[in-house]
């Protein structure tokens, strides 16, 4: 039986819907090569850059193990994150490279020729053969790197291709790329305080069938730190959230344009707390506005 790509995407969508209905991991779909991803992934900026400190490596490995035990999903890193790739490699190796991990990394160099070498080196650091997703980090030399990555995708050396930005930078260029380039993923900053992506990028990504990875959900921890002393609003319990972090993640994952949010942490408890958000029902616009207003007023 021959199945068209559209039918395949539709079928995956059905699987995703059934997963959601069963209260399991929220699944999403990427157009070029459909994949079901849990809505809460794992970032590695700062938290996994621990050098070769044995205690910190073990702590990071425990975080990855807890992440996998809670359903796994997308783990994101970059050559820019110091030793984070090696830490992930160490952690994955210690738990036997579970299949539930979707390996996402980036290419981050101004040299076109160095791109493939860097990707190969990154895979070595992760101790894997190939990545599921390679993104052009902060749009650095994006034209040349995208050419390379599209070629790699065609040759089956990577499943998906994406572009990233953060802190709300270069959104106009990002918009042009999303319109003109056949990318599978875009990574950007989005949270109840940084909402620049809401205007054009999230709707555009949705329209073009591009999956969205959200970085800096807690503004590198400063947002949750600011909110910590403040009691949770009463409506949080109704939504099922027990902490500010959960409320923020729920706000993000409930946006219809968002695929995965990637909080980073050094604490196993935080991983469990973050992953628990996957089981919460998505909110409507009115409820999301309540969260946004509550945080803005603090």
């Amino acid at each position: 039986m021959k199945v068209s790509r559209r039918e395949f995407v539709k079928a995956i969508g059905a699987v995703s819907a059934s997963l959601m209905a069963s209260g399991g991991a929220v699944a999403q779909v990427s157009q070029s090569s459909p994949v079901a991803l849990p809505a809460v992934g794992l970032g590695s900026w700062i938290t996994f850059n621990v050098g070769n400190a044995p205690a910190l490596l073990r702590q990071s490995a425990a975080v990855v193990e807890a992440f996998v035990n809670e359903g796994g999903g997308l783990i994101d890193s970059s050559p820019m994150y110091g030793s984070a790739q090696n830490t992930i490699g160490y952690a994955l190796n210690s738990i036997g490279h579970p299949r539930s991990v979707y390996a996402a990394d980036k290419v981050w160099t101004s040299s076109t020729n160095e791109g493939p070498v860097q990707i190969e080196n990154s895979a070595r650091n992760w101790q894997i053969d190939r990545f599921d997703l390679i993104q052009v980090h902060n749009l650095r030399n994006w034209q040349d790197h995208l050419d390379t990555l599209f070629r790699m995708r065609e040759d089956g050396e990577v499943t998906h291709v994406g572009v990233t930005t953060s802190h709300g930078r270069r959104h106009r260029l990002l918009e042009d790329i999303l319109r003109e380039q056949p990318v599978d993923f875009v990574q950007l900053t989005y949270n109840p305080v940084d909402r620049a992506a809401e205007g054009r990028l999230l709707p555009l990504a949705r329209e073009r069938g591009i999956s969205v990875i959200v970085n800096r959900p807690f503004r590198r921890g400063s947002l949750t730190e600011r909110l910590e002393p403040v009691p949770l609003p009463a409506f949080a319990r109704e939504f099922g959230a027990t902490t500010w972090a959960q409320l923020i993640l729920l706000f993000i994952k409930s946006h219809p344009g968002v695929t995965v949010v990637i909080p980073a942490t050094t604490q196993v408890e935080h991983v469990r707390e973050n992953k628990a958000v996957e089981k919460l029902a998505n909110l409507d616009d009115v409820s999301r506005k309540m969260i946004q207003d509550a945080i803005r007023s603090i």
Binding site: W45, I46, V50, G51, T266
Partner: protein
């Protein structure tokens, strides 16, 4: 793209947390042991020697040169690079410091000794007191920053030594640039120890201001103010 760099804050560029940062010193100390101890003993001996024979400052400058190369390679390239991709570039500051120390050792001069006691104080701090910061901060002494291997005490020691030479600026400039970077790093990490590089920089600024103002006042004095002994 270049203009975009100005929109980043130090916290956006710092890719590691305090635990990983402090562990770098432990890694360097452990990996190259007993070199840290040898360098520390050499600096203690140099300090004693400097007190007894101030004219032998050039030999201490050679020790500073060796120390700066050790900091550049062992600390920045071999250790700090693991968590900071820019570390190898920062090593250049200490290679420049090493060259400057060799230059001053090769061309000795009596120099001005006005701030020598301040310089000695800085050297004593760098050698004897700075290594105890981990205990003050509740960390393990294994993370001690020793002169000759860690950049902050080496830079502070270099400034202390520079204050007894004729061209202090060639040593002070690279050391001060590093201390500014260190101050920014430690402040961003939220570490109280940031007070050390900030204080050292403040001291440099005060000494520079005093030196310039004294020179300016001296130049502004009328001819008749010159000491009587200078007139025959």
């Amino acid at each position: 793209m270049i203009s975009e760099w100005w929109t980043y804050s130090p916290s956006d560029l710092l890719a590691f947390g305090p635990d990983a940062y402090w562990h770098v010193f432990e890694t360097a100390n452990r990996t190259y042991w007993p070199l840290p101890l040898i360098l520390l003993v050499a600096w203690i001996a140099a300090l004693i020697w400097l007190q007894q024979r101030p004219d032998r400052r050039r030999f201490v400058l050679v020790l500073l040169s060796v120390s700066a190369v050790c900091v550049g390679f062992i600390y920045f390239v071999e250790s700090y690079q693991q968590i900071n991709w820019a570390a190898s570039n920062l090593a250049i500051l200490f290679y420049a410091l090493a060259l400057a120390a060799v230059f001053l050792a090769a061309f000795p001069s009596p120099g001005k000794t006005r701030w020598k006691s301040v310089g000695l104080g800085m050297l004593v701090y760098a050698v004897f007191l700075h290594p105890f910061w981990p205990l003050v901060s509740g960390r393990s002494i294994d993370e001690a920053e020793l002169i000759g291997l860690a950049p902050d005490p080496t830079a502070i020691g270099a400034i202390g030594l520079a204050l007894g030479t004729r061209f202090p600026v060639v040593l002070i400039a690279p050391a001060a640039v590093w201390l500014a970077i260190s101050a920014m790093t430690l402040s961003t990490l939220g570490e109280v120890q940031a007070i050390v590089p900030i204080s050292a920089l403040f001291l440099c600024a005060v000494l520079l201001t005093l030196t310039v103002s004294r020179r300016w006042r001296h130049q502004g004095k009328p001819q008749s103010d010159t000491p009587a002994a200078d007139r025959n």
